[in-house]
Symmetry: none
Amino acid sequence: MIIVSTDGSCLHNPGGAIGWAWVNHAGGSASGGAPSGTNQIAELRAVLAAIEAHPGSEPLSVESDSIYAIKCASEWLPNWRRNGWRTSSGGPVRNLDLIRRIDQALTERPGPVRFRWIRGHVGDFFNEQADALAGAAAREARAAAAGTTDPSAEPVTGR
Amino acid sequence: MIIVSTDGSCLHNPGGAIGWAWVNHAGGSASGGAPSGTNQIAELRAVLAAIEAHPGSEPLSVESDSIYAIKCASEWLPNWRRNGWRTSSGGPVRNLDLIRRIDQALTERPGPVRFRWIRGHVGDFFNEQADALAGAAAREARAAAAGTTDPSAEPVTGR
RNA sequence: AGACACCUAAUGAA
DNA sequence: TTCATTAGGTGTCT
């Protein structure tokens, strides 16, 4: 069973630079950023990246402190596919592009994927590591957008 | 012309503690609470309290962000009195006791009363003040019901 | 079907 | 403290 913690960050939500990251509990991590977004987009991107980075048949457990991201990817997704992507109050589902990419990634992965919510800010080691990576990625994205830094852009993969 | 903003609150609607409040634009306010109810009951109690607290002949304008409360007290009330308190779909009118108390308060007041709907959550000063008072009253009622606080119960009147 | 309101929850930030 | 992002629900009427 592969276990991966994810987290997203958004500086000055909404509209600020965003960053996301995943950390495999057995080792390995990755992060990425974009010049603008929302906290929810960052959380969803983290989940999507975690799934895509761990293909194969081995069961995968994705952990996030975002109930929004966890429920989007698990319990709400099937309902939305059935009802034409409508919210309970009749409006359109937000961030639909990302949610559909998660849906597709789940369909394409031969092995099962589980989603688990973990509370944030209570000292969970891997959550805090993902948090730090996501925050750093967001700050890099902000600097890159400001043209302040060397353009060594985008996804960084760690050991 | 006396202008009074009203608001109601219900924690964990339905069934939670409720609070209600009115705020006179010229100064003065009051609030009260009960251990259980619905959001609509809280809104109706707020307008009832506002009417009863402002007797006399001077025209009174009652403002609320609840279309339900405003229409109950104005356009629906006369129809319901005529038709035996039946809803348009044939069912019984809910919260009838409160609605009849509002009817009576209106009848007894020598001066005219107007009802005006104002949109919520758009920064209206008096609406927000009433909202804060109603929320505080609901929280007090919950604490009192839990026996957590000193029993300095019920209606609070402000300057 | 529409409208308004009342919440609940988690996260992200300033 | 206060703001935003998002979802789920109920209370009530027409």
